[in-house]
Symmetry: C2
DNA sequence: CATTAACGATACGGAACCGATCCGTATCGT
DNA sequence: ACGATACGGATCGGTTCCGTATCGTTAATG
């Protein structure tokens, strides 16, 4: 998996080279089908080939099977990580929280729910998931630590728990549509401000 | 679907009555298979029949198809709702938050992730999901409103957002294992107390 | 132009699951 | 004992998918 085309440089190539368009088409077809609601195991190589306008053999020539293909396709989905400005802790948190479940690729939000069961079943896919979200989590961790150093945030908070508090509501709402009454646009600010100030009267 | 055995009372019944054991076995087999990691559409009537020690015909005699069977099986899973004591708002929240993703049936937490994709795809199953969690949400809503009336909680908080704040972290942790470093046992208290007091220094 | 390999298309055997139907048996009310 | 019905088990034809094989075609190299 993911040796893919080339090892670059080399002057080699006897026969017809592999078409980059086919690579693209296969990956795109995979993501499209997932985004349209297919589950991972309902997803078939045949369907992908048809959708991509490609022979099945062309897929098997590149990947060992569905799993290897999926791995590559999902990697391609990742999207851009937001970059906190560093001026205001609240603004930075707002940026990171607002980005949760909103990737550059609009298909991502439709695909993520399909992965939940897989993540729980296969340690490999769990690790893949963790690898994808780890950098984002690290970003939020740094913002919170900075807030503590600056004295804006209490020094005794548990940073990991706080991250769960900021992330959880966004995820269940965007991935699970947990509460239809909530407004997805206003939610990031509401979450950040409520976590900052708490709900206890004083 | 769900006409099932009986309409109670009636003196009717010419032939051999349906075995309650078969009903039980079929439902149990369905839940077991789901809990073992089968996805909804990977789940087959044959597998269920085999696991239940039952002929396929026995299943088709009771339900129109897989969907109808699943609906009944999931209803059976619901489990017991916690009952807030009403003395302390914090204790009540702790009880409700601690119960999230922890049903009476230990299989529930393994099955829930499998439902996430289905919930997003089918309006019917989305409605089913909403119907299951609605009573629990109502319970938490009432505790929060009581807290406001008692003056313990600020009057200007958004109750729906607060519920998402309390529920989200528990769900992503228990369903998704979002952060392996978090301690599931301590989490409810940490979530409740952090939401109550906020993280801002003062 | 000859060579070489990837191309799209299609077919294959094998497997899994579906809904439907039929056994012969077991268990009810009458 | 009798009809009626449910039981577990088995089988059928149809569908879908997998992974491989084989077409004639196409595109680069030499």
């Amino acid at each position: 998996m993911s040796d893919m085309t080339s090892t670059a440089d080399a002057p080699r190539s006897p026969g017809r080279p592999r078409s980059i368009r086919a690579d693209e088409a296969i990956i795109e077809a995979t993501l499209d089908l997932l985004a349209e609601g297919s589950t991972i195991e309902a997803l078939s190589i045949e369907a992908i080939a048809t959708r991509a306008g490609v022979g099945k053999a062309t897929i098997y020539r590149r990947w060992a099977g569905k799993d290897a293909l999926l791995l590559d396709a999902l990697r391609r989905l990742k999207g851009v990580m937001p970059q906190p400005a560093g001026d205001s802790v609240r603004d930075d948190l707002l940026l990171l929280v607002g980005a949760i479940g909103q990737n550059a690729d609009p298909r991502a939000s439709k695909i993520m729910p399909c992965l939940v069961p897989a993540v729980n079943r296969s340690p490999d896919q769990f690790q893949l998931y963790q690898n994808i979200i780890a950098p984002r989590r690290q970003l939020m961790r740094e913002v919170l630590r900075r807030g503590i150093e600056e004295g804006l945030l209490r020094a005794d908070i548990d940073v990991e728990v706080t991250m769960a508090l900021l992330t959880g509501p966004m995820l269940i709402q965007r991935v699970l549509q947990w509460n239809p009454d909530l407004d997805g646009r206003k939610l990031p600010a509401q979450v950040v401000d409520t976590v900052l100030d708490g709900i206890r009267a004083r």
